[in-house]
Assembly symmetry: C2
Homo-oligomer: 306 residues x 2
Amino acid sequence: MNGIDPIPYYLYEDQHWQEIQGAVTEEILLCIHVNGRELVTFMCTPHNPDELALGFLRSEGIISNMEDVRLLSVSDRGTCVDVWLNYSNVELPNRRIITSGCGGGVTFDDLSLRLEPLNNSGTIASNQVFERMHDLYQNAYLYRAAQGIHTSALSDGERLLVVAEDIGRHNTIDRLLGKAMKQALDTRGLVLITTGRVSSEMLVKAAKMGIPIVVSRTSSTSLSVSLAKIWNITLVGYVRHNSLRVYTAPHRIVIPDNQLFRAGGSSQPGGVGCYPDEETNLELNKAVVSGSRAAGTPWSPSPFEL
Amino acid sequence: MNGIDPIPYYLYEDQHWQEIQGAVTEEILLCIHVNGRELVTFMCTPHNPDELALGFLRSEGIISNMEDVRLLSVSDRGTCVDVWLNYSNVELPNRRIITSGCGGGVTFDDLSLRLEPLNNSGTIASNQVFERMHDLYQNAYLYRAAQGIHTSALSDGERLLVVAEDIGRHNTIDRLLGKAMKQALDTRGLVLITTGRVSSEMLVKAAKMGIPIVVSRTSSTSLSVSLAKIWNITLVGYVRHNSLRVYTAPHRIVIPDNQLFRAGGSSQPGGVGCYPDEETNLELNKAVVSGSRAAGTPWSPSPFEL
């Protein structure tokens, strides 16, 4: 499988050694050239370098769509992507910022002013969050073969539309964007689901894609929480079998009909805070709730460990 | 606590909402200037920016020791470190490589040729690996307060000498290096223990520090396994209560006296492969084995999830 390297290792367990014919995640140095000039080199998983390059260029604002690309070629060894654009007056960023999602800004103010708040009114039902995270685990092929890899997906709530895997969290987002571009899929209004921690570079990439709901298997940082508040993005973390945390804009997470009254009418702490507009949520809720996960559906037992 | 931001969130669990007074990891954009010129900006945890800057500069080869530093000042908001060197003819790297451990190299060949193989003959007992990983968990203060953070340490096998935490895996290594510089601690021959995945930039940083044994709670990538082979570094992954995986140079992991004969003399697969020089290991083993962890010592139940 491209992206997995068979590697034998020695396992020491319960005071015994054995040799295991195992595998690890493949990591390469990928170089991206634009109009013949080297733009960047980064570490990534080797499959589909074209999609990764396309997504990265769009994420960095160097291209807007496929029309901007005249030619894209991948070197024989798959470690270099040459992109030739339909215009020659492209300005490549020079600033050395060590995170691929943040070319240009230095202060938090710069960062927060760069994008407009999202006024998207989309919602997702809590059950759908659990189900799509389950789907993500099911689609984590490289992870299941060798661990040590992140998986992300774009979803309309009902199903996963595109899925991407990479050793780099932020690369998975660029890959999703590249796949979406190739399929002419509009990312705006979709839900981003990821196994990775949502640090600021992840949130910036999501915001640039017009994503109103970002769902992670794991944590958020203070900077991503602050940015999500300013940009009105719903940030969800620590999604487990039947629990999740909502850090910002909780109105986009609705609970199913049969649970709404219980929560809204109870004296549970935070119940009202979560439902500032209960009527609206009730209506939206009816529209978006899909069937609950069938009782007894096995839940992926393996939390990601990276 | 510096590095932790109190953040309230909504917890949805078992069909109930509640508001939690929680916390997330603090993330800032740190800017490093050298001789008045901006070198780099990256995301990190805000505590001890001086140590992070020192370690980063040494890791990048810009300084060799504390003698090279004339003045180091941290801005009032703690988001900028100004370093003035004792020499003005410093050449700052210009290449845009999106990983902080790898300024300059593009191909694997470049990378592998940059350092000499380590001929260090140090070893560590399997029990010591388990014990030091346990110590690492005990010292993960920021992680226990907010999760979403990595912890690394340098050890002589018997105890942890310096410990560092950051949202960035590779930042923890730079922080260790910065702390070591400030304490005039020689990193050569020490053991690196980390919660983070060992991708190539992690291994490159370890190799630059002269570390012969790299131990991780989690996975390795193909590139780090290849580099570890070439540089003769012992790469250990997936350390758990009583199990671990050795990817390269297994001769540096020795098992206690009372287990060696069983392993060496048995027909277990890989037993011989692990002990190409059984006599030597037997001797080394006696020298380095410390007391076993007392029976019944509680093991940290919380695997890191990042």
